[in-house]
Assembly symmetry: C2
Homo-oligomer: 259 residues x 2
Amino acid sequence: MELTVIKIGGNVIDDKAKLGSFLQAFAGVAGYKILVHGGGKVATDIGKTLGIEPNYVNGRRITDEATLELVTMVYGGLINKNIVAQLQAEGCNAIGLTGADGAVLPAHKRPVKDVDYGFVGDVKSEQVNGLLIKALLQNGLTPVFAPLTYGQGSLLNTNADTIAQEVSKAMAKYMPVQLIYCFEKKGVLLDAEDDDSAINNITANDMGELKENGIISGGMIPKLENALEAVAQGVQKVVIGHAEELAGLISGNAGTSIT
Amino acid sequence: MELTVIKIGGNVIDDKAKLGSFLQAFAGVAGYKILVHGGGKVATDIGKTLGIEPNYVNGRRITDEATLELVTMVYGGLINKNIVAQLQAEGCNAIGLTGADGAVLPAHKRPVKDVDYGFVGDVKSEQVNGLLIKALLQNGLTPVFAPLTYGQGSLLNTNADTIAQEVSKAMAKYMPVQLIYCFEKKGVLLDAEDDDSAINNITANDMGELKENGIISGGMIPKLENALEAVAQGVQKVVIGHAEELAGLISGNAGTSIT
């Protein structure tokens, strides 16, 4: 059976109505499926109330001990378990996981070079427990991953895009996998001002020209490079598009496909 | 293989050193095992900082919407996932669960009679998903339950003692089960002033005399009645004793056995 791995970020999580209609659509996706969710403003808001101020070095968020407790509560508890409960209500047999559960996502605590990022994990790709994920899927369960990995005896903060990619690559050994990144636009736009100008398909060969023409820049460059790497490692297709068009992203009628 | 279900409460959870040595002992328990944990002061403390004041009616805590969010974060996230990470560090392949995960613990939202308890769940005993728990155990996993069940589309707050009892009764259909309640004393004490006076064994026949003599009273009466009910429904043995004596409680050399 084919597996669809879908990642959603804060723009969906922070909006109850958007999250509700997304989860309804997600529950209806056929075949094996996995949801990976990011953080969201709620973590920052709760952190502020608890007196945990975001700590940045060179523009990068540092995960100190208090922040790790915060994201363990909010990502691993509040967001993850509420998504699981809502999916159950939609008839989707979800199970919430962090990387520590079943040691499913082992990671290295990021080594200190110029910056000590604190409790941040880089996934050990070769050790992702794909067999456990496969067993859960075969038992009729839909894993829902919080953006937390596990290493050196601790939970570790890890980017949700990365987790979606690592899970997809690991599962590609066992079944056909497509990976869908939901974000706030309808795809990679030819014209940044026109939300209906999404490029239908991008391959590795297109990258040079797209970069030269300035059509892709900034954070989109690593996003696409990661997508191409996932494809190179066996993922059949990566699709980038808007959470509200989930059915179209899956059928290939919306978003930008990277193949 | 025999299954040991062990419940710990706030007195262990709130003390980092005690929790660490308990989890080390737990990781060493042979055979199938399940951990059920309660809440602890940390939830009240975080709640206070967030401005969520405990709300009591007739001495019973009410779970309003803010409190449900709090316990979802703290029980389902902070406490549960930290226990899972620490067990992984001890070589025990733990997986954290609430009742919503895999719909493993379906519950009724407690109906409003004299008091509206809010988001509190009473487990639907006959619907506990013992087959999922069995599948997890057979895949080498050790389930760790937070005191949260699932019903009417929502997580629900449920007493950890009750969850331990319901899980034990459900699993008794598939394998021999012993249920161990860790609390702050060494067992049911003949002399309340003497912590070394634990009664070795209690059966249903002893209850009348123990109540008459005032040896058991207050909260111990429903605890023992629940234990006897679990035994009546197929659990081989219930043991009540101190978390620091886990090995003795399992081997029968410490605590009070209810058979």
